[in-house]
């Protein structure tokens, strides 16, 4: 096996991208020199405040939003949590557990009540998401199920693309939130966010299903009151993987809430934002000071905010050129993987995917072993195999597109980035086939390709 001791080939940009030097430079003055607390009234404070607010405006411009619609958080996970719990708990009046009024035979709640809410009965207790969301969304929704909410997890088909018609079918008068990711972090498939937004808009325009839904009990008494307004359901998208490659203008997308993260876009770690359309009521996750319109207390992370803004600007500038460059490399890589390694299948739609994402299942070899052999050969990538997760569960994304467990255990994600060249791919294709040959040499499995 060829070894390259000095050079590392990094193909895990979807996990973390190296911080851009320009970002680092922009952040530099805000560590020691301009260290002030942006909430202070004196000069040091004003300098910091000015940086935060100027960057908020610049970011808002890129997103096609207003400055006050941008809430800085500590990253994608927090933004997702703030969007989901923020919307839901604002509606329940901050109460975190629904009281079940009725249960079915198995004891599952069929009707719920918000103790302190102006909405006295039933109303909005339903959330729609997908089976292959990031765990930040998925596990937030699972928590809401424990709190008495009902969640619909939409299928994503064998290509890993949500069908807007399925969203239309799942919408109910009591749906409060739809959360569907913009681009999947594992298989890179891009979701039809505009079309889904349109489906939701039409649903709301037609009264949010109200006309269909005055429910009654067996005796004909109404059990459901009318809905407070047709602003629901809100539409949230986790766009963490998107800014470098896709249109993130919230107006054009038609989303109400959007999550963005710094470290996936060559910015710093520990910073993210939630776009929340003006008028949306959110209950904070944390309680404290009045920063970020009381929605995110704690002293603002000034250098990281500056870094996030710079990273977004660069992503916005380079989007088209970089996407075109990477699509070519991606398709070249996929072609070689499928062509030169037998029993390899592509996961996710071949075209409706991020320009930098390659995800293949290599059968009869196991992902963790492949990652470690590649690491030894100087290549960094990731796998959907269970062995790399604490829970020892294989990728829920690969299972969601209908592939068997064995495919998930052999799923390999290569995510390209600004530094990736064709030469890097050629090097991977020089070492990978031999690694697979070796692992298959002592593998007792012979999986038949059937999907």
């Amino acid at each position: 096996m060829t070894k390259n001791k000095t050079k590392r080939i990094y193909m895990d940009h979807a996990a973390a991208a190296p911080m851009d030097k320009r970002v680092k430079k922009a952040m530099e003055p805000y560590w020691t020199e301009n260290f002030g607390n942006p909430n202070a009234l004196y000069k040091e404070g004003l300098i910091a405040r000015n940086a935060v607010e100027t960057d908020r405006e610049d970011i808002a411009k890129i997103l096609g939003a207003r400055a006050k619609e941008i809430i800085f958080t500590n990253g994608g996970t927090e933004s997702d949590n703030l969007a989901i719990f923020g919307v839901v708990h604002a509606m329940t009046g901050g109460v975190r557990k629904l009281t079940s009024l009725r249960t079915d035979e198995e004891g599952n709640p069929t009707e719920a009540k918000f103790p302190n809410s102006s909405l006295s009965s039933v109303s909005r207790s339903h959330i729609i998401t997908t089976k292959f969301e990031h765990h930040a969304v998925l596990n937030s929704c699972k928590q809401l199920e424990k709190e008495g909410f009902e969640v619909t997890y939409l299928d994503v088909g064998k290509d890993g693309v949500v069908n807007p018609k399925d969203v239309a079918k799942a919408l109910r008068p009591e749906t409060i939130l739809v959360s569907i990711m913009y681009a999947n972090n594992e298989i890179g498939t891009v979701q039809p966010i505009r079309e889904i937004a349109k489906v939701i808009r039409i649903f709301k325009k037609n009264g949010g299903g109200k006309s269909l839904s005055l429910r009654t009990d067996e005796e004909g008494n109404p059990t459901e009151r009318k809905f407070s307004s047709s602003v629901f359901p809100y539409f949230h998208t986790d766009a963490c993987q998107a800014p470098g490659y896709l249109d993130i203008n919230v107006e054009r997308l038609g989303v109400d809430l959007m999550t963005i993260n710094g470290s996936k876009i060559y910015g710093p770690k520990g910073i993210g934002l939630l776009y929340a359309k003006n008028g949306i009521k959110l209950e904070p996750l944390l309680y404290g000071g009045e920063q970020e319109r009381k929605l995110r207390p704690g002293t603002e992370n000034v250098p990281a905010i500056v870094g996030l803004a710079e990273a977004l600007k660069i992503a916005d500038q380079d989007r088209e050129k970089e996407s075109m460059r990477l699509v070519k490399l991606r398709d070249y890589f996929i072609g070689r993987l499928l062509g030169e390694i037998p029993k390899t299948v592509l996961n996710g739609h071949s075209a409706e995917r991020l320009p930098n994402n390659i995800n293949v299942s290599i059968l009869d070899a196991e992902g963790e072993s492949i990652v470690l052999y590649l690491d030894e050969a100087g290549v960094a990538c990731s796998t959907g195999s269970a062995c790399t997760s604490e829970s020892l569960e294989p990728s829920h994304v690969i299972l969601a597109i209908g592939k068997p467990h064995a495919y998930a255990h052999g799923a390999m994600r290569f995510s390209l980035g600004r530094s990736t060249t064709k030469k890097d791919i050629d090097y991977v294709m020089k070492v990978l086939p031999d690694i697979i040959k070796k692992l298959r040499m002592f593998s007792p499995v012979n999986i038949k390709i059937n999907c």
Partner: protein
Amino acid sequence: MADVDKWVYSSVVKDHFMHPRGFLLGEPKEGEFDSYGEVGSLACGDIIKVWIKADKETDKIKDFKWQTWGCATAIASASAFAEMIMKNNGMKIEEAMNIKPKDIADYLGGLPARKFHCSILADKAFKKAVENYRNKK
């Protein structure tokens, strides 16, 4: 600075994983082994098959081979087990039956707790092979 040569598991695991010993290449030939045992599943992500040949007189293991599909520690523990029982021209079956997952983990210089039950499968596959062997006799 962090240790750049640091590896996720012990150096012994790495050695067995990168240079596995005692695996069977391809299918066994007719009469090459007395019996075989298999544990694991595709769903779990680890499958191990082992083959044994025993000396009927001495009850010693004359040959032991394995094949593993799974993570680094699954491959390394199969390789380590093969090395353990084939030392000194093969252990007695009874002695090899006493090898516990902890013995294999210790031999490998330790394994993460979460990897213990799922990736140390060689001893279990071996016990199955011995069971098949005893039933055959």
